[in-house]
Amino acid sequence: MTSLSGAQANLRNLFPRIRASETAYLDSAATTHKPESVITAMQRAAVEGYAPVHRGLYAEAESASSAYEAVREQCGNLLRFKPQEIVFTRSATESINAVAQSFLTPQLNPGDWVWVSELEHHANYLPWQRACQASGAELRVLKINYETGAASAEQIEELADSRTRMLAITGQSNVVGVMPQLEPLIQVAHAVGAAVLVDAAQCLTHQASELARLDADFIVFSGHKVFGPTGIGVLAARYHHLEQMEPWLVGGGMVDWVGEGAAKSEWSDIPARFEAGSPNYIGVIGLGAALDFVQKLPEREVAEHLLRIGSYAHHTLSQLPNIRMLTPASAAATGVISFIHERIHPHDLGQVCADHAVAVRAGHHCAQPLMASLDIPACLRASCSIYTSRADINRLMQALEHAERLFL
């Protein structure tokens, strides 16, 4: 039943949990499993390499600091930002909140426009909604054509309005897999002096070089979705923007001179001033190993595998009589395949899948605005990664057939 190419079987074998588990893990858009190299790097960081970062003169502390800074450089290289333009956060969510709070809100006026797309995850929607509510600006929503990834000519014209201050847009929908065409939107936004944030949480693994080519002002992502640790995220931000931003957290490691009484404190250099508190050393080292892993993946093979497995899933599911596909065929290569069953509730489908040890996700996927635009309350999502096999998809089909027998 399985039909992995040799290379893919090898990739699968790099993931100890995938290798050992009976579960068909089809929830990689939520979070990815970790390859051996990341596990080992985290363990090493927690044992042999463990030391405080940026604060000690002894050998272990200096090595830890260098290793930490090396990951900053690695992130910068990956996305074509300078090392000082990389800020480590706890997550993509924190990164976006930071930009909304510290960058955008202070410059927002009533009547200004802030754009998001209708594909956004709540993490890239709520912070902007809040910024607008705080300032009287207007949150506007770009529709994206599912087949082409393009916005409409009318909306692009609106985006080009001088009221536009910001465009915050996903690199790839976590529900329908659609990847907006970012480049034209960025050009239009920049032409009217607006800044652009790209939410790369879903697409970093397979789109790093495309992201690097973009002239985005901000790029954010989370470690746990790129084979790395939980609790670590990245904010890549252009230096001149960082210069404008007040630190969103204050504390140790980010202040040069503490002001006395009412005197203002003097912050440390960029990016230190944005990393208050003891750095998440283990998280950053694990992230570095994850990015190493991603950078060393055979790019073409990965793309081919995702295309093959995504298309297989998409095609097979489309054959079922009661299924309505939400992910368009053109986005199947992202491996993120969402659908609804016309007669069985997603929660019930998800439950039956769970009972078959098929890990899929039922719900709104933190994308209520997208659900509303699709006019559904929830859906089922099967999301693939480099370790997903056809056998996993076949298990999903069996579970769905069982659900039909059970409920219909």
Binding site: H345, H347, V352, D355, A378, A399, F407
Partner: protein, 139 residues
Amino acid sequence: MSPDNALYKEALLDHYKNPRNHRKEPFESSYLVARGRNPRCGDDVEVGLLIENGQVSDSGFRGRGCSICIASTSMLVETAAGSTMDELKQLYGQVASWGEASTDLPNTLEALDAVRSSPSRKKCAMLGWNALGEILDSS
């Protein structure tokens, strides 16, 4: 992790496929009505009780939801029929103290027992009951 999940007991599926007193039309104004919604999946049910002489003389529900939600609410309206408000309060208390294994549910709710082992489905099962709780609170 057997494919024949204990959750989907026959009794539960029966209630799901043949929900009791599931109606399309709004409740008349003489009914005590409250609504329960689950943001995770958009489920949305409304429970209505008609109280006459201190007893539930009619009970029903509207709305959509997953099988657990529909079945649980259907069991609710079936069990509620004929109860006094005090009995309803007691019943609600039993179901609400969900986590504690000690509470014994009446026979008509036995199928709900299976859901207890699945904390993430609790919200589904409680949707109608939360509505009942609201009715009881405000009456």
